[in-house]
Amino acid sequence: MTIINGVSYRVFKDHLFKITTIIASFLLLVPLILILFYIIKNGISTINWEFIINMPKPVGESGGGIANAIVGTFMLIGIASFCAIPLGILVGIFLYDHKSSILSWWTRFSVEVLQGVPSIVIGILAYTWIVIPNGSFSALSGGIALGIMMLPIIVKSTEETLNLIPNHLKEASLALGVPYYKTLLKVIVPCAMSGIVTGILIGIARIVGETAPLLFTAFGNQFINYNILKPVNSLPLMIFNYAASPYEDWHKIAWGASFFLVAVVFILNVITKLVVRRWKVQF
């Protein structure tokens, strides 16, 4: 009895718990290292300049690249950004400006629900809204689906950063006779620019690897296409299609594309960190 409640037993329990925690935490590194190892091992031999600028080749011919997917990914991100960034920032400013009204409650609620909508459901929505009226799969529908995914991230980061700006900045500007809208646009928003940019970068990093909403919107395309009303390919879509195929050559291309995609996400993360560190909002 004395031993069970004794100090040495309690200390032993403390150490045991700490060690278990540390081991379990670092076990999390195992899948990460394995994933990176597989991608690098299989991807690095495929990736080179030719791989990036060439078109995919038919099965059986070696070589071939991912140029169509890269172009498509850029188009989709461009369309998504064009839809989501201005609207997201405006809504963020609105939520900062109206902390508690009925409209802002509903707006916040909508943003929160939007944030959790499964990506495949967004794919269905873009399909019914754009693909059916248009009569064909298109880059536009894929871009809008990705834009809907990006929107809540931008709204949240804009609002949160604006809330960090101290009130006396606003008061000083208003006291000088600056109209309210100019105070918002020329004093408050520029102060929060880094947070807004961070939100945009996080949003892009989030959508660049999305596949599910593109399955029946952007659909995929073997060729480079610049028409936003026609289907385009994207990197994650290409990885999905090629990974599911039975051909060894295509798996290689998929690994190369995975390597490229992970590198892009990684670089976006690093840039985000640099932006946060360099232009951190602090008062």
Binding site: R10, K13, D14, F17, K18, T20, T21, I22, A24, S25, F26, L28, L29, P31, L32, I35, L36, Y38, L87, L90, V91, I93, S104, W106, T107, F109, S110, L114, Q115, G116, V117, P118, I120, V121, G123, I124, L125, T128, V155, P179, Y181, L185, V208, G209, T211, A212, L215, F216, F219, P236, I239, F240, A243, A254, S258, L261, V262, V265, F266, N269
Partner: protein, 297 residues
């Protein structure tokens, strides 16, 4: 100089700007409403035809025009529950590690970057990796235990899902645990408690609603996750109590069949699955966010 004019022009710009903000906020609400309306309208045919039996019937036969989603609901519930159970011990360790033992320093930076990287890897790459690295391992394991060696299946999907959702519950839980006032912890230490006892009786109970919210939000992710699951679950329309057997989830059936569905009832049934998915994840998300707001993270 006509001061009234200047005043009016300012007034106009001000009004224009605030109208713009109002309009954009309104647009978001319209978007949300449009999502609800679209999903309901497009699944109306299936709702009318099958009613509630859609959720309780397991027969899914596009040729005969009979649709019941029970198999997929079962698959989703099973994979996400398993994933949650697998992820909780590890997520909890990361929370304690980053929030209590090593709040700064090299070790915490390594783990923090690892968690961020795991969160950043696209789900299709998780699926691809699982298909070529995890599936053979599971298959060997199954052969050793003389279970039919599919490799793909519910357990494989759950493992991948668990890896994918740990970063979410871990990062929210860490923020919650760091909000515990240090006075509370210090008084426990002053009474002679060990670090484990402080965690067990002070820190974790104080932060439990935040940790719970993080786990709830990660469950929302697991329920809606599509690509990685689609690639490793095997896509078999059968309810099986064996977790090694292949199955299907709500998200994966939409991903697999939506683009090949041709007749209206078929599409409508798939959209209804999407509607169910939307409602479930919406409820989980709103509850999770509500808890977080209450403890103000």
């Amino acid at each position: 100089m006509n001061t009234k004019n200047i005043y009016n022009s300012k007034n106009f710009a001000d009004k224009f700007n605030s109208a713009l903000y109002f309009l954009s906020a309104f647009l978001i609400i319209v978007l949300f409403a449009a999502i609800c309306v679209t999903l309901t309208v497009f699944s109306l045919q299936s709702i009318k035809t099958f009613g509630l039996s859609f959720l309780t019937a397991s027969l899914w036969d596009p040729v005969a025009g009979k649709f019941g989603a029970l198999t997929y609901i079962y698959g989703t519930v099973l994979t996400s529950t398993l994933a949650l159970l697998l992820s909780i011990p590890f997520a909890f360790s990361v929370i304690v590690f980053l929030g209590e033992y090593y709040t700064e320093g090299i070790l915490s930076n390594i783990l923090k970057s690892a968690v961020e990287l795991l969160a950043g890897i696209p789900s299709v790459i998780y699926g691809f990796w699982a298909l070529y690295a995890l599936v053979p391992i599971i298959r060997k394991f199954e052969m050793a235990f003389e279970i039919p060696p599919y490799g793909v299946g519910i357990l494989t999907a759950a493992i991948v899902l668990a890896i994918m959702i740990i970063p979410y519950s871990a990062s929210i839980g860490r923020e919650a645990i760091q909000l515990v006032p240090s006075e509370l912890k210090e008084s426990a230490y002053a009474l002679g408690a060990t670090q484990y006892e402080v965690l067990r009786y002070v820190t974790v109970p104080y932060a439990r609603s935040g940790i719970f919210a993080g786990i709830l939000l990660s469950l929302g992710r697991a329920v809606g996750e599509t690509m990685a699951v689609t690639m490793v679950i095997g896509n078999v329309n059968k309810i099986s109590l064996n977790i090694f057997a292949p199955g299907n989830t709500m998200a994966s059936v939409i991903a697999n069949q939506f683009s090949e569905a041709c007749d209206k009832l078929y599409i409508s049934s798939l959209v209804e699955i999407g509607l169910v998915l939307f409602v479930i994840t919406g409820v989980i998300n709103v509850i999770g966010k509500y808890i977080l707001k209450k403890i103000s993270i």
